[in-house]
């Protein structure tokens, strides 16, 4: 029973892995609690967006991910 996290851009470097599974269900406090140090700081920042199953989450604090969901952590894009 898991939620898959996908780290993009420099967040993947901070996490040390491109993906990580966390127990479901997962909300915003649970996500932050699972991300240590600089990674948690970065994700908390307003420039980092979340996507739930490919859709941008308008309010990160309202994140509600269930078993089988994918949460992407998206730092600012650097342009094509």
């Amino acid at each position: 029973m898991a939620v898959r996290l996908v780290f993009l851009g420099k967040l993947a470097d901070l996490a040390g892995v491109p993906e990580q599974d966390l127990p479901a269900p997962l909300d915003w406090p649970g996500l932050l609690a699972a991300l240590p140090g600089a990674l948690g700081e970065a994700v908390r920042g307003e420039k980092v967006k979340l996507a739930l199953n490919g859709r941008i989450v308008a309010d990160k604090a309202a994140l509600a991910a269930a078993d089988g969901d994918e949460v992407a952590l998206l730092p600012p894009v650097s342009g094509g």
């Binding site: 993009l8 992407a72 600012p76 894009v77 342009g79 094509g80």
Partner: protein, 148 residues
């Protein structure tokens, strides 16, 4: 098919892609195109583009649809590479086919400005063996405001 939108893994051949696009739009009076290349800045050895499939291609398709809705176009092409590339290699190709040139120029310009600042790509470059993530540029965001 009015739109030809792709995330390209591996090589991008602008000449071939443009020839196919021209063939698909024989009634167009003109085609404006732009090829973006990896800039051969001092010491850059390699550039790496990463994307997030559930967002990147849908975002590019929405961009192409927005250009079609805004200008009278016969078609629009948006091809963007991902992965690792060397200085001088093409990284992005945009083309717009239209009855009249100004619509084609404007649509290609619009698509590029949005790809540079509003598309789901992350970029890092390697210099002297060390990778560094590239942060968003302020100019890219001001370019985007031209179209609001």
């Amino acid at each position: 098919m009015a739109t030809d939108v792709r995330v390209v893994e591996g090589g991008l051949s602008p000449g071939q892609a443009l020839a196919a696009f021209a063939g698909a739009h024989p009634a167009a009076g003109g085609i404006a195109s732009f090829v973006g290349k990896v800039r051969p800045d001092d010491g850059v050895e390699l550039l790496e583009l990463s994307h997030y499939a559930p967002l990147t291609l849908p975002g590019m398709e929405a961009l192409a649809a927005a250009a079609l809705a805004r200008w009278p176009l016969d078609g629009i092409l948006v091809h963007h590479r991902i992965g690792q590339m060397h200085p001088g290699e093409p990284i992005v190709l945009v083309a717009a086919a239209a009855r009249h040139r100004r619509d084609a120029f404007a649509a290609a310009d619009f698509a590029m400005d949005h790809l540079k600042s509003d598309a789901w790509f992350w970029k890092r470059e390697r210099r002297a063996g060390a990778w560094r993530w590239i942060e968003p540029r302020v100019e890219d965001h001001s370019d985007l405001k031209r179209w609001k």
